[in-house]
């Protein structure tokens, strides 16, 4: 990878990080004094960032394809012996795609939040945290080395923690925030050890340095680094086995769910794997594990999504599932990288749109999240219904909406991997598409159609323009983004300098047209199944007991129970055992010794006779001993 120094507008990309960071600092340190205009400042920085991002993007398009990677050196961060890490930014087609997504969708969600959080007395603090998130996320995708990436990586984790627990008076929110951070830390363990191993093996942590050195490394080392990176990705992107935190994270305000837990932060794992492509390219084993994790998660997430009555948790299951698709694509190697990122971008639009739609519904329904309490809302909330509807068509993959282009390509690439694994991965992806159609249709039917099952005090109304505007723009993205990116393989060509050319392979497991038709049939089948169950019959207000499978899915397929019995319980026992050992064993021994000495000294005390002559005698013997010792030493 060849990179030259950034010039022109591109040399200003550091402002992308600095502006929201400064704004967050002003809002947090300024406190209540900034309440009046805090939200405006909060919206201004991502908008400015979007402006810079677009300008940098346009400038990049002016360069020939091979010269589009530009670096911006900021300062020397750590320099100890041979360990040198600079804070530097890398602007290339991959990172600029993320910059546009983060600042673009980010700006819309900031604007939406003005309306959504208008009743909250802490709205300013909310915007401060959102800005903090934007800064950290941009650092994550712009860093030119793994250690600076890690700073952004933990930074988004911090912002996520603060925002999930934003309504701190809700005990469930505080617990969810804690859980998200700790589970993420397990993933961070993987990423940080990977970085340390890179330094140990190659002496560098910069992308260029590592990718240059990795070709000479042993296969076992490369696979180990790849799997450690995957562990990091699993934590951040809620993939198996670290998926459980994402469903709980829905305790945060809905704009947070849209921005952080759907469109951007949770996709960081995909970014990490695609960015580390040169490492995964050298290890088919690590790649296969990545693909398996993705395929498994896409099914698990989708199945969970089918059983949730909480609209946000349903969408969260869906997010897990869609990121599973991206991880699966990334695990397919260079042929899949571009599709992984493409699906990430289209998903950013439609999933953010769906979440904002869900937030709009909740806003209208007194924060009710139970879809069994919705119904018939399409009449009262036409804008929300239409924008949600486009997001729905995009996610289930109906042509020509954006999800169709990206998801269809992933399914096709999975089948084309060849061999048994290709068939299995492809089948999983195909099945996932059907389940997606099922749970999304269910969600739309339960929310917008059927009879009104509202609670008595609900008086739904359409949301204010400041909320509807962003929803409309995201809906436009849901409609057109896929088409625009796919036309003529445009996005693949754009990313090619970073992720490598995808070879024009003639091997097709199934003819693409046939596969597309099969996929569409599966999708329609899923939709019809949901219609039969939820459109034709009335939806009961109280959830029926359900079959074993339904119950399991409602309990997130026992993800928490597994964690609890495998990690939490043994951990608690270990902790208790250590504490017991500490107080009885270690400290007990100390105290016993002390008590023994105390008892002995009680007896020795009798030597304290009060007679000067006996003291003088013992002093004499003592001094003689010391002098003797000194003489001995001198000799």
């Amino acid at each position: 990878m060849h990179a030259t120094q950034a010039e022109g507008v591109q040399s200003l990309v550091w402002l992308l990080i600095a502006l929201p960071l400064a704004s967050a600092a002003v809002l947090l340190v300024g406190g209540r004094r900034t309440d009046k205009w805090g939200h405006l400042l909060g919206c201004a920085t991502p908008l400015a960032g979007f402006g810079i991002g677009v300008a940098a993007f346009v400038q990049m398009l002016g360069y020939p394809a091979e010269e589009r990677a530009r670096t911006l050196h900021l300062y020397e961060w750590i320099a100890v012996g041979g360990f040198n890490v600079d804070v530097g930014l890398l602007l290339d087609p991959l990172s600029v795609s993320f910059v546009l997504l983060i600042t673009g969708v980010g700006s819309l969600i900031h604007i939406y939040s003005i309306g959504y959080m208008s009743h909250d007395t802490d709205r300013r603090r909310f915007f401060a945290y959102l800005n903090l998130f934007i800064a950290a996320m941009l650092l994550l995708v712009l860093a030119d080395n793994y250690l600076a990436l890690y700073v952004g990586w933990e930074g988004v984790g911090l912002a996520s923690y603060l925002l999930i627990g934003f309504w701190q008076f809700k005990p469930s929110a505080a617990v969810a925030a804690k859980k998200a951070f700790v589970v993420n830390r397990v993933g961070d363990f993987g990423l940080s050890v990977a970085i340390m191993v890179m330094f140990g093996a190659f002496g560098v942590v910069s992308f260029t340095g590592v990718f240059g050195a990795v070709e000479g490394a042993s296969k076992g080392l490369v696979t180990a680094v790849g799997l450690l990176l995957l562990l990091g990705a699993c934590g951040k992107s809620a993939q198996l086995p670290l998926q459980t935190w994402l469903l709980d994270a829905m305790e945060g305000p809905t704009p947070v769910s849209a921005l952080i837990h759907a469109a951007t932060m949770v996709t960081a794992g995909v970014y990490l794997i695609v960015r580390s492509g040169p490492i995964f390219d050298l290890s088919p084993d690590a790649r296969l594990v990545v693909a398996i994790v993705g395929a498994a998660t896409l099914l698990v997430g989708a199945i969970i999504g089918c059983a949730k009555d909480d609209i946000k948790k349903g969408l969260a299951g869906s997010t897990m599932s869609q990121i599973g698709y991206m991880i699966l694509a990334a695990g397919l190697g260079p042929v899949g990288y571009a599709f992984a990122i493409m699906h990430l971008l289209t998903h950013g639009f439609f999933k953010a749109g769906l979440f904002l739609g869900a937030g709009s519904v909740m806003h209208a329904m007194n924060d009710e999240v139970d879809m069994r309490r919705y119904g018939g809302l399409y009449r009262v909330m036409p804008w929300t219904f239409v924008t949600f509807g486009f997001g729905y068509l995009a996610i289930i993959g109906i042509p020509p909406f954006s999800g169709f282009f990206s998801k269809d390509k992933i399914i096709e690439t999975a089948f084309n991997k060849g061999g048994t694994s290709g068939w299995i991965l492809g089948a999983c992806a195909l099945l996932g598409a059907g389940i997606t159609a099922y749970y999304m249709t269910r969600m739309v039917l339960m929310t917008f159609f059927g009879e009104r099952r509202w609670s008595d005090d609900a008086h739904p109304h359409e949301s204010p323009p400041v909320m509807v505007g962003p929803m409309v723009l995201l809906a436009l993205g849901s409609i057109f983004a896929g088409l625009l990116l796919t036309l003529g393989g445009r996005f693949q060509d754009f990313l090619a300098p970073v992720v490598g050319e995808s070879p024009e392979h003639g091997v097709h497991a199934i003819s693409p047209v046939v596969l597309t038709l099969i996929t569409l049939l599966v999708v329609i089948g899923g939709g019809i199944a949901a219609y039969v169950q939820y459109g034709r019959r009335t939806v009961p207000v109280v959830a029926p007991a359900g079959s074993f499978a339904t119950v399991a899915a409602r309990k997130d397929l026992y993800g928490d129970a597994i964690n609890e019995s495998l990690i939490m319980r043994p951990g608690q026992w270990l902790t208790r055992l250590t504490v017991f050992f500490d107080s009885r064993g270690v400290d007990g021994l100390v105290n016993t010794v002390a008590a023994t000495i105390g008892g002995t000294s009680g007896r020795v005390r009798r030597l304290q006779t009060g007679f000067v002559r006996s003291y003088a005698l013992s002093m004499f013997f003592g001094a003689a001993l010391v002098i003797g010792a000194l003489l001995l030493v001198r000799l």
């Binding site: 012996g81 930074g155 505080a174 804690k178 830390r185 363990f189 050890v193 140990g200 002390a594």
Partner: protein
């Protein structure tokens, strides 16, 4: 005499001054105390600016005859290992002085004791003579005993006694080791530069091992590492906030500083041979400290156990730095990380203990179960506590991360399987630390209010002025650590090459 002597003894002079004017009002006493600390810190900053770190040599050296018969001298000086600790000490004592603006009980004696302790702590880090080092080492124990016994709460007299006896015993073992070094040197000397230049007992591994054992135990008790740590939790729990801040922030570093200053360069052969023991003790301390901390309900005990955990990282690092087979760059990184961690832990834990002091001042309890939802009524307190907690759990952007990352990377990068495995185990510690600090935030700041929450008023201006600078420094080191690392690095490189002899 150099400016260094002035730095060391200025606080003591101020203490004597305060004793000389018994009529001063309490308020005046504290402002005089703060003034002395500010002047001292200003001198240290001047020293820092004037110190040429690039060479890694000793600066501001002074060497006066003291006890010529045993060739012990008043030999002081600073280098890249001691200067950062001296600066951190000056900062932390100033913070404690400012924090004590709200101190009401026997102010004069309190101020005098702290000024005395400041001289002792600064003197220890500047000492280049084993006997001088030992004198300061012992006096620190005496001073802290009076702080805990006189201004503590709860079962403080008993805790102070336990602290005194335990660490004093450790000091005696240390003295035994020092005498061993003295006897092993030819000619006999207590001078640290001479002992470093020509390591004693070079040809006799058996006695060298015994001396290292004595020095190691003495320092391990002070650090403290598992299993000689049990004096620490009660001492902290019952000490006043400023006392805890100094005890954890400065005095624990005397142990770890002793490893890099004395044990490693003076007994290089033995250190290389027994480096694995330091790694084992370090890893055990990391995990053990974190696990026990996780179970605590008493906030101060919890922070005390996290100190065991954090000092464990340092011990792991100095162990990894002694592995002869290790890569030189990695070992330098580990050593630099160890010193950075000492500074970082001083700032962060100092802040944490002062914050717990605020809590106790309001609610008269450290039991976390009695609080909850503090963030609503005391947002500033909550914000500072959150920053300190995240700094302590190693969030990037704050100093703890810089230190721990160097330690882990240096240990893993040293290329030996044992150190790498040890480091990987120790990194699990960062998961537990995250869990335990989030538990603290969750139980005290968030959720429904507890029985004492209503009493917790937000932080006062003086408390803010004491705590915020500590966290600001941690942030600066986290973002732009070069000013610190450039001072430490040449000295740690020197230590590593001394160990490699």
């Amino acid at each position: 005499m150099t400016v260094l002597s002035l730095v060391i003894f200025l606080p003591l002079a101020a203490a004597l001054g305060l004793l000389a004017f018994p009529r001063l009002r309490d308020r005046t006493v504290i402002w005089a105390w703060i003034g002395a600390c500010v002047a001292d810190l200003a001198l240290v900053v001047g020293m820092w600016l004037g110190y040429d770190g690039a060479g890694g040599g000793v600066g501001y050296e002074a060497n006066l005859r003291w006890i010529p018969s045993v060739r012990a001298g008043y030999h002081i000086g600073v280098d890249g290992l001691s200067l950062p600790l001296i600066a951190m000490t000056a900062v932390l004592f100033l913070a404690c002085a400012v924090f004590s603006l709200r101190q009401a009980r026997r102010v004069r004696a309190f101020a005098v004791l702290f000024l005395f302790l400041q001289t002792v702590c600064l003197g220890l880090f500047a000492a280049l003579d084993l006997l001088l080092f030992f004198v300061f080492f012992d006096l620190s124990i005496v001073g802290m005993y009076f702080v805990i016994a006189g201004w503590g709460h709860g079962d403080n007299v008993r805790s102070a006694l336990k602290f005194f006896l335990y660490t004093f015993l450790g000091a005696l073992v240390l003295l035994l080791g020092f005498i061993g070094l003295y006897l092993g040197a030819d000619p006999h000397t207590f001078d640290m530069t001479e002992l470093t230049r020509t390591p004693p007992l070079a040809g006799s591994p058996g006695p060298a091992a015994l001396v290292l054992l004595a020095v190691g135990i003495g320092l391990a008790i002070k650090t403290p590492t598992v299993p000689v740590h049990t004096w620490l939790p009660p001492a902290h729990t019952d000490a006043p906030a400023a006392g805890s801040a100094i005890l954890a922030g400065v005095m624990l570093k005397m142990g770890t500083y002793g490893f890099v200053r004395i044990a490693m360069p003076m007994l290089p052969d033995a250190w290389r041979r027994y480096a694995w023991a330091a790694i084992v003790v370090g890893v055990v301390s990391v995990l053990y400290g974190a696990l026990v901390a996780l179970a605590q309900d008493n906030l101060k005990r919890l922070i005390a156990y996290t100190s065991v955990n954090h000092m464990g990282y340092v011990v792991l690092a100095v162990g990894a730095a002694g592995l002869a087979a290790g890569d030189m760059d990695a070992r330098r990184l580990a050593t630099t990380g160890a010193v950075t961690q000492m500074v970082s832990h001083g700032l962060i834990t100092g802040a944490l203990f002062l914050l717990s002091g605020v809590l106790y001042d309001r609610g008269h309890s450290y039991e976390m179960g009695r609080y909850g939802g503090i963030a609503r009524g005391a947002p500033l307190f909550a914000a500072l506590t959150a920053v300190a907690a995240f700094a302590s759990l190693g969030l990037p952007g704050l100093s703890g991360f810089i230190a721990e990352f160097q330690i882990f990377t240096g240990s893993i990068g040293s290329g030996t399987g044992a150190a790498a495995a040890g480091a990987a185990l120790a990194i699990l510690g960062i998961i537990i630390t995250a869990a335990l600090f989030l538990r603290v935030l969750h139980r005290t700041l968030l959720g429904p209010p507890g029985s004492r929450t209503a009493q917790v008023t937000d932080i006062h201006r003086s408390e803010l002025a004491a705590i915020a600078p500590l966290l600001a420094l941690s942030l600066i080191i986290g973002i732009a650590p070069r000013f610190l690392l450039d001072v430490i690095e040449p000295a740690s490189a020197a230590v590593v090459s001394l160990v490699a002899r």
